[in-house]
């Protein structure tokens, strides 16, 4: 059994995330994104590579599509795939993603068609019809897609509604992380997932080699930069996606404005982002705990200081803060405002942490002001304004990725959504630190990994009960320490299951006309109808006793010394065998099935000759052990033969 992963996008790059995973005959497409950096066919994943028979359409070749969040690099190709390519099967995403994705898609469509004058790839109707096919899921809800395929969403932080998805078919299971954030921010919590048994984790690796410090420092830097600008009468342009970052920064500013009692207007461009706030208000349960707790008194997405922007305000005098889409200044309103504001020194433009190559945002990232930036072939703009790069990203850093992989401990890891050299170094770290095989395939490559499979068997109650005894040993051994049931509870909390390890020994029986069944040894005898037969070993040999009297003559052995001999033997053997296995009684010493006693027989059938020093008073050790401990028996005997015991 194997899991096949076909990387249709975000292989060694960021953009058009799309991975098709085949597990035990079920085929899941994780994300269906588009690449913002391309305008030709490269903007979409190459869907023709999805394995299918000639007669099959996409609907029958895929079991379902799962979309992790509303960013275009994860959902941008979905309407095209469903409405143009004709996929009609089930699609899953979280409630917020389902609610917010149409806004993102519509915004993008408008930018492309209305402003750039491009031929449209999909229409508004396409978006609406596509979203009709989507089944919304809640976090942790176990969804039975069909009889065999089970999926479950886990909180991923990143943006509102972002989720990691767990998918399980039979005994094989994978997690596809999408984009995630391992540290909480002002409006979202940190990613959260159960400890799962996984064959594969497919994780993003945007910041595969970056380690970041606290987010609050950089939030303060941002607020300071904005405050300095408006205090000097400047205008602040915050290009951002309609959703996510805009709300996060706006919460930050709204709160700061309140505290500092600032009266300078904060604007949202167009109606879009203001409308988006209604969604955020309804979906407040998907934000961070702190934001969530405040819903009853005042919904924190009711921004007090925010109002709507009119085009006429662009050149109005006086300071202001403006949120405008799109985020990477790739066109649309943010570009329009940028043209006007960039040439003035007192103004400020913030840039998101990541800009796709080919966008104005990307060109500005590496630039030092003042500079010139080409907007298109004919237009060049003097950029004299301040540029502030937002360094708090909603993506996890390298430590977060490593923490997640360590926590999940899957058998294999595939890296996507990152840059090749960084992925390479992260792969090395994952393999050396955790010994987990790691891959970072390029687009259109397939990785195949083995999958977990269990054999189903019945188990008799006697067998199951017999597995308990080793468990008791374990508990008893640790009861001296601080292992209490309270501790167990504590361990249990973050973990999905409490496992108690029990060494189980049994007999697996398989017959032609019955299910495999595990039974206890005792039961096998009954079942087979044959008698059990004991195979034993025995040996009786003289002890080496060296005690002599003053004259060098051996002192005859007094009967009362016999027990002391046995005890001497015990203390010597105790050095060789662990306390748990060796036991002493009045008559004998026992190590597993090996039993040694002082031979009381005149003529013992197991006796071997005592050699030249044979005398009638010699003491013999009579040993008996079963075939299971054949080797052990001989080991004990060779030790005993070397021992010298004293007589007295």
């Amino acid at each position: 059994m194997a899991i096949e992963c076909l990387i249709l996008g975000a292989g060694q790059e960021v953009g058009k995330s799309c991975v098709v995973v085949t597990i035990n005959g079920k085929r899941i497409m994780f994300d269906c994104g588009m690449h913002m950096g391309y305008l030709d066919h490269r903007r979409y994943p190459d869907f023709s590579l999805i394995p299918r028979d000639a007669s099959e359409d996409f609907t029958s070749s895929l079991t379902c599509i799962i979309v992790t969040h509303f960013h275009l690099d994860h959902i941008g190709a979905l309407p095209y795939f469903t409405e143009v390519c004709g996929y009609k099967g089930p699609i899953y995403m979280t409630y917020p993603t389902k609610a917010l994705a149409p806004l993102m898609l519509e915004d993008y469509r408008k930018v492309m068609v209305d402003r750039r004058g491009e031929e449209e790839q999909f229409s508004s109707e396409h978006i609406a019809e596509c979203m009709q096919k989507v089944t919304a899921v809640d976090l942790k809800q176990t969804v039975q897609v069909d009889k065999e395929l089970q999926i479950r969403a886990y909180y991923a932080g990143h943006v509102l509604g972002a989720a990691m998805f767990y998918a399980k078919v039979g005994d094989a299971a994978v997690v596809y992380t999408g984009d995630y954030n391992m540290t909480p921010d002002r409006h979202l919590g940190a990613a959260q997932i159960d400890r799962l048994q996984l064959d594969l984790v497919i994780t993003e690796s945007t910041y595969a080699t970056t380690f970041r410090d606290s987010k609050y420092v950089r939030e303060r830097e941002f607020l300071k930069a904005v405050h300095n600008c408006v205090a000097g009468g400047g205008k602040v342009l915050i290009p951002s996606f309609a959703l996510g970052r805009a709300q996060e920064l706006c919460m930050l500013l709204d709160d700061y404005w309140e505290r500092m009692n600032l009266k300078i207007p904060i604007y949202f461009s167009a109606g879009l982002t203001i409308q988006a706030n209604i969604y955020y208000k309804t979906l407040i349960n998907w934000t961070s705990q702190k934001v969530k707790d405040s819903y009853a008194t005042r919904n924190p997405f009711d921004f007090k200081n925010v109002c709507k922007f009119e085009r006429a305000f662009i050149n109005a005098p006086g300071p202001c803060v403006l949120f405008a889409t799109p985020g990477m200044i790739s066109g649309g309103f943010s570009l329009e405002v940028f043209r006007q504001w960039a040439p003035h020194e007192g103004n400020l433009v913030t840039l998101p942490g990541y800009c796709v190559a080919g966008t104005v945002g990307h060109r500005l990232m590496s630039a030092k002001t003042p500079t010139q930036v080409n907007i298109d072939q004919n237009t060049q703009i003097d950029v004299r304004c301040q540029i502030h790069q937002l360094s708090f990203s909603p993506h996890t850093d390298a430590k977060g990725i490593m923490d997640l992989i360590k926590f999940l401990s899957p058998k294999h890891v595939i890296l996507v959504h990152g840059e090749k050299p960084k992925m390479e170094s992260l792969k090395g770290k994952i393999e050396s630190d955790f010994g987990i095989q790691c891959y970072f395939p390029a687009n259109n490559e397939t990785v195949s990994i083995p999958s977990t499979h269990y054999v189903k068997a019945d188990a008799s109650s006697t067998f199951l009960r017999s597995t308990l005894s080793p468990n008791f040993k374990f508990l008893r051994a640790s009861s001296g320490g601080n292992f209490s049931s309270d501790d167990m509870d504590m361990i249990a909390k973050p973990v999905l299951q409490v496992c108690d390890d029990r060494i189980a020994e049994g007999i697996l029986t398989t017959g032609r006309y019955q299910n495999p069944k595990i039974i206890h040894l005792k039961e096998l005898v009954l079942m087979s109808g044959e008698e059990s037969h004991k195979l034993q070993f025995a040996l009786c040999f003289p002890a080496r006793i060296t005690k002599m009297d003053e004259n060098g003559k051996l002192i005859p052995l007094a009967q009362e010394f016999v027990p002391s001999l046995l005890h001497q033997l015990f203390s010597k053997l105790s050095n060789e065998f662990s306390e748990a296995t060796i036991q002493e009684s009045d008559q004998n010493i026992q190590i597993e099935s090996f039993v040694v006693s002082i031979c009381s027989k005149e003529k013992c059938p197991h006796r071997v000759s005592a050699g030249p020093h044979d005398i009638s008073e010699a003491v013999y050790f009579c040993c008996m052990w079963s075939a299971a401990d054949e080797k052990l028996g001989w080991k004990v005997i060779s030790i005993m033969k070397k021992l010298e015991l004293s007589n007295g």
């Binding site: 409630y95 609610a99 149409p102 919304a136 942790k140 809800q141 209604i278 969604y279 208000k281 309804t282 979906l283 349960n285 819903y295 009853a296 919904n299 269990y454 189903k456 188990a459 109650s461 308990l468 005894s469 008791f472 009861s479 049931s485 999905l496 299951q497 409490v498 496992c499 390890d501 029990r502 060494i503 189980a504 049994g506 007999i507 697996l508 398989t510 032609r512 495999p516 595990i518 005898v525 087979s528 008698e531 059990s532 037969h533 004991k534 195979l535 034993q536 070993f537 662990s578 099935s593 059938p605 197991h606 008996m624 079963s626 075939a627 299971a628 401990d629 054949e630 052990l632 001989w634």
Partner: protein, 743 residues
């Protein structure tokens, strides 16, 4: 060491004896061991006890189930209808109208029953003064108090109503169980409990602190003096209910209780102790209510609480998720309430008898389950309520709606505001409750728990409910209490008021009913189930119109039967009460239960299922076992119990254990066979017969002469090899092993 081993053995055999031996300090520690032992115990059956059948929507049933050695409690409700034995606070509203209308002339419903009862009870005079004038206590499930709370391992809460008695358990220091509830149930239940505490506070202020732990009204001589109707509510038919009464918990008890609740999403998997895999699925009854699926290595159980196929506000009944249960505990008693009223019950719909013939016809069953008759019926009721409301306000009367079903209230609110607007009436609507503001805020942020139509509002960018608009337009007002200063300044009549409590003994509803009870134009909308005869005792001039309405509280029996056919459980635990009315369920293996009767559920599987990791299975070396053509393999692994499944994985070798494991030989050693085999190995022998004294067991002594001396004793059950030479010894044992079946 030896000692502890002994107690271990006794533990395995006599778990219950073991209980008595451990000291109290170790209790917690050993308890977990004990439970694991019983987990695999063959001796204990699954045991079920119905503690209370409840009384419909507001007082859901309560049961205890022993599964895999765990004690599971389903719901912990309060019987708030019993509050009717107490007198509400005497309140003097200055504006009580003077004109006297005759009592009880305008009641619109159910009065035939009311009248009948009056005739029966002539012997004892029941009037307002017979009610108990003291701080009310609250009636819990009395049988629950007979159980040792520390033995309860898990509590399942199926609805906010099933949670109201929970603080009584959680504040007990012996309580250590895990409590599961859906997130919505937990949040709504918390609000309901806080509201209850708040309403009770008003009464406390009147009566002052209670010094006695046993109030006067609880004494037998006092109870004996009560009219029989009250006596029965107070102490039950045979007086045993009296132990169920408790003084109300505090706000601190409520928040302590909430800390102990683990909230779940629908279909979220929770694991208790690795052994039970637990999921809640929507029951459709109201927001957040659920049925429980419990998967254990032995049995899969479904706890089916009152469920409806027609939910207009809440997530719809997810019955498909309940497939694959071995046992269904059917705990929807709503049908019994319907059938009590004979005229409502008119046998079967023709569709059902057709169904019982072809039981594999899933589609027609599903169609029958999902028919929308009930939904239409419910919306007819709402429309009727709404038109009555409008009639009243048009006539200048006010409308009091102390209904507590969230889904119904929300629908009614929407209906009424819509009707008011369309008939151009400017009548204010008030919601008076200490938790109203938080409740409405909450309702607007839980799309995941609502029906599809509500969720569509989310997708189209609208608020889930229109409260905010209504509030902004000043058509709806929220007040925490009836004495809020703002309320007094805004108050105008006629008005429509939604407020607690439906028992008409506590909360703002008491004040308002006292104010309006003599007004024949006003309207009181209440739920069925209260004894009107007792409920209205404190309200002297009952001229107000009363509309008593029964709402859908569960599934009809015909649907229950079809559902069971669809789900195909091996057993259904079914209320005895419903058996008397319904005979069709006999086509299933039904076990009928009634209150306070414990019985075992037959063992379904002799074996448990185990998953063996493929890498472990591949390492096994199989041996064919003689005649039966069965192959056997010795295996060793680590057994995990997780999510209700046994899993055998390749274990880590423990350094302490011995190197070779014992093996088992089957069969006997045929002497001739042995000699031939030895000879092939170049071992020469001489044989000597020995017969033991009793003559039964013949032993051969095989003396090995070459290459070295050795002796082999062969008997029917045993072969013993003795030689001082290790390699010869292993050579001989190899030879013997080829003759025996060694596993």
């Amino acid at each position: 060491m030896a000692n502890s081993f002994c107690s271990l053995t006794s533990l395995l055999l006599y778990p219950s004896t073991f209980w008595l031996e451990v000291s109290l300090t170790d209790l917690q520690h050993y308890r977990s061991i004990l439970l694991k032992v019983e987990d695999f115990s063959l001796f204990t059956l699954m045991k079920f006890t119905c503690l209370s059948e409840g009384k419909g929507y507001h007082f859901p049933p309560c049961h205890i189930l022993n599964l895999c050695g765990f004690q599971l409690l389903f719901d912990c409700p309060l019987d708030l209808s019993a509050l009717s034995v107490f007198s509400p606070l005497p309140i003097n509203l200055s504006s009580v109208p003077d004109q006297c209308t005759s009592v009880c002339t305008c009641e619109t419903s159910l009065d035939s029953e009311c009248g009948r009862k009056k005739k029966q009870k002539v012997e004892k005079l029941l009037d307002a003064s017979s009610l108990i004038h003291a701080e009310p206590w609250y009636k819990t499930v009395k049988s629950l108090r007979l159980w040792n709370i520390s033995f309860i391992d898990v509590v399942f809460i199926s609805s906010p109503m099933g949670m109201l008695g929970l603080p009584f358990l959680t504040r007990n220091k012996d309580f250590s169980a895990k409590v599961y509830a859906t997130e919505a149930t937990a949040r709504l239940g918390k609000l309901m409990m806080e509201e209850l505490v708040e309403m009770h506070k008003e009464i406390l202020q009147f009566y002052g602190p209670q010094e006695s732990s046993c109030p006067e009204w609880m004494r037998w001589n006092e109870i004996e003096l009560l009219p029989s109707a009250l006596k029965e509510i107070l102490s039950g038919r045979d007086g045993e209910d009296l132990g169920g009464w408790m003084p109300l918990y505090s706000a601190a008890d409520v928040s302590e209780c909430m800390r102990k609740v683990q909230s779940l999403k629908y279909a979220e998997e929770a694991c208790y102790n690795g052994t039970l895999s637990i999921k809640a699925f929507s029951s459709g009854l109201d927001i957040g209510t659920c049925n429980w699926s419990i998967i254990s290595p032995k049995q899969n159980i479904t706890y089916l609480s009152s469920s409806t196929f027609a939910s207009a506000t809440a997530t719809k009944f997810d019955y498909n998720a309940l497939h694959g249960s071995d046992v269904i505990i059917f705990s929807d008693f709503s049908a019994s309430n319907v059938i009590d009223k004979k005229d409502d019950y008119n046998g079967f719909s023709p569709g059902v008898s057709k169904l019982s013939g072809e039981d594999d016809d899933r589609e027609s069953i599903t169609e029958f389950l999902l028919n929308t008759d009930e939904l239409a019926e419910e919306s007819d009721k709402l429309a009727f309520l709404c038109s009555c409301t409008l009639d009243s306000v048009k006539a200048g009367g006010s409308v009091l709606i102390p209904i507590a079903r969230l889904g119904t209230v929300l629908q009614l609110l929407e209906h009424i505001t819509f009707s008011l607007q369309s008939s151009n009436l400017k009548v204010p609507i008030f919601i008076i409750s200490s938790v109203a503001e938080e409740l409405l805020a909450l309702l607007n942020v839980i799309p995941e728990w609502l029906c599809k139509q509500r969720q569509d509002k989310l997708y189209s960018g609208q608020p889930l409910f229109d409260f905010m608009d209504l509030l902004n337009e000043k058509r709806l007002f929220l007040f925490p209490a009836i004495h809020s200063p703002k309320l007094l300044s805004i108050w105008q009549e006629p008005c429509i008021v939604f407020c607690p409590h439906w028992s008409l003994r506590i909360g703002p509803a008491v004040h308002l009913l006292q104010r309006w009870c003599a007004d024949e134009n006003s309207l009181l909308v209440m739920e069925e189930g209260l004894d009107a005869n007792i409920t209205f005792l404190p309200f002297k001039l009952m001229a107000i119109k009363v509309l008593q309405c029964s709402f859908l509280s569960g599934m009809k029996l015909q649907k229950a039967e079809s559902l069971m056919k669809l789900l195909k459980p091996k057993y259904v635990l079914f209320p005895e009460k419903l058996k008397q009315i319904e005979s069709c369920l006999r086509s299933f293996s039904c076990i009928y239960y009634s209150e306070n009767e414990t019985f075992g559920i037959p063992k379904l599987k002799d074996c448990s299922e185990v998953d063996i990791a493929i890498d472990l299975a591949c390492q096994l070396s199989h041996t064919k076992l003689g005649k039966e053509n069965v192959s056997v393999a010795r295996m060793k692994g680590e057994l995990f119990v997780e999510q209700g499944k046994n899993r055998l994985l390749n274990g880590n070798e423990h350094s302490g254990s011995s190197q070779t494991r014992p093996f088992l030989c089957l069969g006997g050693v045929n002497l001739q066979n042995l000699l031939t085999t030895l000879q092939k190995k170049g071992i020469t022998t001489r044989v000597e017969d020995v017969t033991t004294t009793d003559g039964s067991d013949k032993t051969y002594l095989v003396h090995v002469l070459e290459p070295k001396h050795a002796l082999i004793e062969v008997s029917a059950a045993r072969t013993k090899v003795s030689t001082g030479d290790e390699s010869l010894s292993s050579n001989i044992s190899e030879a013997i092993c080829t003759i025996l079946n060694v596993i």
